[in-house]
Symmetry: D2
Subunit: 441 residues, 4 copies
């Protein structure tokens, strides 16, 4: 995956012309397929747990999204390649049709991988025609949905990376996804500092007059009062996490939420997902195989419960999503180790950087999704999209926690300071880490 | 249970003297035992689901609380009646000792009910001695813990009512808890109106200078910004809920959170807990047996998911806990149908009341715990109690939703506007209902 | 339970007169209640696992049996005490009515223990009237069913002992069922020898002309060809079993049936049920509390899988039920340590007995039910009883193994050489042990 | 799969020369691969339930068998292609090494299908060398193990057909395994008659002096006494089974073993596996897609419980395995609809055949494995093979029922009258049907 051309093109600004949309569409579709180039046909089929989908399912589902929400409504006489795909590749849109049961996605050998690619290209062609000849009375609606479909496919690009990692990790052969991923530099861990924020009555969520794309759950902008707080200048590192482990973090119930304590006991968790101990040393499974844990890199593949317990052990807490967003909005530096970097694993930040207390925190974007202390609930005045697309985000607003900032598998152009990702507190297969916060003294 | 003496004495103000504490202690201990008078010995033993505890376990556990946190630390040479009780009746204090597994509480025929009462009285005597002779250097600590123990026992009084109801409801014989409960009056449903609140930057949580008792989770007071909102003048009634059911509320996925939709399908829920249809009419199991559903009374025994789905169906939403508290603080009327009323079921509010738009909402307190739209998380700056008592509330701050206002089984003196109750969103065996809110137009 | 009068009267010969039946009926009813005298009310309520029934359920169910199969069919105008008992106390007779779900028997606090005894006595009176005034046209049918009902109640007497033991064993307080049980004598283990049988074409099952009572599953008598075989002169002892454990029996997959191997790994079994290690010594929970394991007594509370693995380890095998029956029929000594002995636990046989090779094997009856190598299937020509009583035995003829000989909790008059008991191969809460067999050389 | 050359070569007589073994080895290896020709790569990967293995796992496992039991012991300096395969493709030989967990076989995308074929050919070459140069001191052992390996691979050929059918059946697209399978002729159902057997003292199991190959579980031959019995002249047909269904067979508890009754209620079974109702007509999924049920063909894909319930409904019973074997031995006609026929589904026998009472029963071999009423237990004097191969059959002798006669997916040369197949009584994905028996009047 070393590319002369950048693999992940920026969708920095929304296109303003049909040609612009066409190009953006083509770009995102191409990236998805490039992500799958290293896969064997067999890798496309496996569902390693209920949360994971077979890669070929992802390829087909994002295609179905364009078909269901653009081709069928807006292309007169559009004929699908296979009627049953509407059932098989509907993920969770209950008001659209009854979706094929999620835990059974791994039982489908057909359509084959080749069939799925044929389906993609069939839809691609129809989409290109539509984008070049969008009926003017629907051009706004079409642009909005194409934009949503593109961001949707970017979400699944990240899911593909997560899921492929989980699939390969089940295999005692420890298969390597790709040997062409970039090798992270060896760096000394950056010292952790604290950045102070005054708080006050702040605006959270996407500015009402923003024309940029954002998901419905980032809206509406609203006021929120924050007490003064401090935020760590970088995420917690593997080195710090290993100290937590060594000092009995997984054995002390006083550090844990009750649900977390019962979970780690039931599952026998004593380290992040994918970690393996060999003698004195920790290794972890990565998309380039089993590697020694880089102590300077942010810890990754921990659940909310583990992040929360570490924070309590360290005398801090997780930031709320509003605190995180306030800090992020003011960072003015959205760069980070995203999928575009070509590592597909978290990387230590450059060490030794002299930092002023006024400097913005490091690594807010990329590397690891950062667990916040906020449950995923609607903003005041939240409205879902109309129709089946109303199921996109809103119906998941229970039982999950918010994560912020994107990760090493997120396309750089996909993330914003206001972006709200969410996972159940027990989830570990995402590239999830965390950063400490504390009350300002 | 018609009592010349009031069953539930008020703990309106914290006692200021040892005699005051002694009286308060005796009162709460007596109420618990009076609640159990109607029970058969066999009723004390059953655990009808993991969430439910056998009544005799409750009787012993609240006793253990005084023993573990007062007698053992503060009475020199205190000898327990039975050392194993420290294991059997520790509920969830992992840092105190390893608790006996919760789902196995119903497997303990011994200690017998009589043994448990003996244990209670043994501890009562030791507590009375302690309260009359508290070492002055610990008098503040003792007062604080006695106060906590009293409120703890009140919580278990409510749990006793919930659990006894659930236990008896399993039995096809439909046993009646007590025929001496008061019979609710027949009332016409009050019309539902809306009360508008301007919002703004408000203080939520217990005022910092308050000397009144409150749990740690109600602290610290902090500022929160609320957009203008409207709150329904009373909870949703059975009549309204039946309309929701009749109009397909349980069949339309667009109304439900995803977790809720899967839950009702898996469990086959189509009505509140304890409801039984007989021909055209709905009945429900109560502590006085199977009764016709009173259409004017607040709907009860619904999960958060059902409350949330109803609200969406009705074009509203659930209030946040801050909205609810803001309204409640300003209600200045904490009266309601509490356990002290002697109904132990929700009752319709008086109908036909002429109401001004400025009037405070009705039934904010008592009748049903009201689900809010807020996940149960710590307030900014939250600190747990020190030692094992730190496990009292804080460790449950994930996976649960906040309910407010107390219910028909709550001792009146137990509730405050700032009181935060919490249950998992799927729970239905509490006396849980809800009230609508919406954005102010 | 030391009785001037024998607790367990013999039903050695079927009564021939109404008075005889009346006396037999009264006897069996009285024994059941005497078994429960040591229980606390709370003990009657618990269901410690799905296989176990609360003692009060047993008391009511055996009563229901007489009501359903005698009073209702044969007493004109019989009025039940409570119609719902027909539902609650039907165990598994699906063609009679839909039985109350077995795993929910422990959720019934009502009817109370006192109610159940009232129900017993109500039915007792009606039964006595019926037995004294049996309509002559039904006298044969009535005698047959009373006889069945008496043996049925005896079966539940044994189940009561098993279930009470299991219930009390869940409790960390290790409650003692009764301190009045007889204390087993200390004996040296008898040396184990082998008794040879020639085999040949033998008759198995109840002789066709037998008038003695037997269950349908013991019929019809039929011919079976046995190869020559040898049978151990006594059951395997605790001492021998401890050696198996110490020599890695639970760790060597080569010794185990596949189902057994997976079971012991999943459950973590490394010793018989109720065994607890304390330092170097093994203790086991008994109806008189926690006692050191008597090395000379037969091993008890082992599953079929464990018996089978031990036999393989010892170079032998379990006898088939035909082999066992052939040996037992020729023993001509049905004495043994039955419930009537008052131990309610297996006891070592008298040591030092000089034994000739022609002597019959010891302890064929009583002490422990002996697992055989035979799956529980119908004999050739097997016919069930007509009507709902056809469900008595026949429908359980899959997935279970046959055990023979009765145990220390079986009424002596209940067992015969042809008696076929059966349990799933994983069951351990019965008083189950085993004896070795091998091919004759 | 229409083959000029016969797909399934007969192993009618054991080869007597190295060349003979080489040819037999090559034949069986070729057949397995030919069975997989119609598969897509994706089909090879799926594990549709714990009992099913991915086709590529079968391909590798049978190869591992030759490697583990022939190449490693007998080829000096043999180097495996990949050491981890010994772990991945060991099915259940616990004494050989710890096998990879069965339910996780479907999580392995690697080795790829191509890798597996490479592994096959690598082992094939080594095996050919070994067979051509077998060290004379081991030639007998090698011949025995090759013979076992060949029969083992034949067993997996049948499992492949069963598993492929189950895998494809999960898919709403209803994929067709192969369009080149032969289409069954349309025949009228043959009338069912009864053939009487006198019984007596008979020899069951493989004759001691037989040199033919047989599994250890068919030995030793032993005497068994059979009462006179009658056996149906053909298996139960779909037409007869539909009548059972229509007349409430699945609703009447009196017909069912208790385990069976609970199973069909829990699973909601009301028809054989793979059956789908469309209006008035029944269809079933086959390896050539969804077809109308052929009423004249033997019913297939029923569990033991369903076979047993049907037999009870029809006033008969299932034959014991000894009865079946006695009839089969005397049939002297081992022909039938085996895999070699190219149907891979049961086919109606030729209708209208005039049959004498003395004629042997029809369709004893092929079409459907016939459930017997016999639990799968060892024959008297049974000895397992030595070493890890002792786990081949013996350790499964609990919890399963014997089936006889082979089916439409069994290689014809694989079956004998003494052949004992076995499945749990709940299994339905094998090609399992049944034939009635009854006592001779
Ligand atoms: Fe999606
Ligand atoms: Fe408590
Ligand atoms: Fe019974
Ligand atoms: Fe195999």
């Amino acid at each position: 995956m070393s590319h002369a051309e950048p693999l992940y093109p920026a969708l920095a600004d929304e296109p303003t012309s049909p040609e612009g949309w066409l190009e953006a569409f083509r770009d995102v579709r191409a990236v998805t397929e490039q992500l799958c180039i290293p896969l064997e046909t067999e890798d496309y089929v496996i569902q390693s747990m209920d949360d994971v989908s077979p890669p070929k399912w992802h390829l087909a589902h994002v295609t179905w999204f364009f078909e269901a929400f653009l081709l069928k409504p807006f292309v007169k006489g559009y004929v699908s390649q296979n009627d049953s795909y509407d059932y098989l590749f509907n993920s969770y849109y209950e008001t659209h049709s009854s979706p094929f049961p999620r835990p059974r996605r791994g039982l489908l050998s057909r359509p084959t991988v080749a069939d799925v690619y044929r389906y993609r290209h069939y839809v691609d062609e129809a989409m290109e025609l539509l984008l070049c000849n969008a009926p003017s009375e629907h051009s706004r609606a079409i642009a909005e949905r194409v934009c949503l479909g593109i961001h949707h496919e970017q979400q699944h690009q990240e899911l593909l990376a997560m899921d492929i990692k989980h699939i390969l990790a089940q295999n005692p052969l420890r298969p390597i996804y790709s040997k062409r991923l970039k090798v992270p530099p060896t760096r000394r861990p950056a010292p952790m500092g604290w950045r102070t924020y005054e708080g006050g009555l702040l605006t959270i969520g996407l500015e009402p007059d923003s024309e940029a794309f954002a998901f419905d759950n980032e809206r509406p902008a609203h006021r929120q009062y924050l007490e003064p707080f401090e935020l760590a200048t970088r995420p917690v590192t593997n080195q710090e996490y290993i100290r937590f482990m060594e000092q009995g973090g997984y054995q002390d119930p006083a550090l844990w939420l009750s649900d977390g304590w019962h979970l780690i006991r039931e599952k026998g968790w004593t380290a992040p997902l994918y970690w393996v101990r060999d003698g004195e040393r920790w290794y972890h499974f990565t998309l380039t195989g089993l590697l020694p844990v880089d102590t300077a890199a942010p810890v990754c593949h921990v659940s909310f419960y583990e992040a929360d317990a570490f924070a309590r052990w360290a005398g801090g807490r997780l930031p709320t999503e509003a605190e995180w967003e306030h800090a992020a909005v003011n960072t003015r530096d959205l760069n980070g180790n995203f999928a575009d970097s070509g590592y597909l694993q978290p990387v230590a930040t450059e060490a030794g950087t002299v930092r002023n207390p006024q400097d913005p925190p490091l690594q807010m974007f990329g590397d690891v999704w950062e667990w916040t202390g906020s449950a995923y609930r609607p903003y005041p005045g939240f409205r879902t999209l109309s129709g089946s697309l109303g199921e996109y985000n809103g119906k998941f607003m229970s039982g999950q926690m918010v994560l912020r900032g994107g990760c090493c598998a997120t396309p750089a152009s996909h993330v914003r300071p206001t972006y709200r990702n969410f996972f159940p507190p027990s989830a570990r297969w995402a590239f999830s880490g965390f950063r400490l916060a504390r009350e300002a003294t």
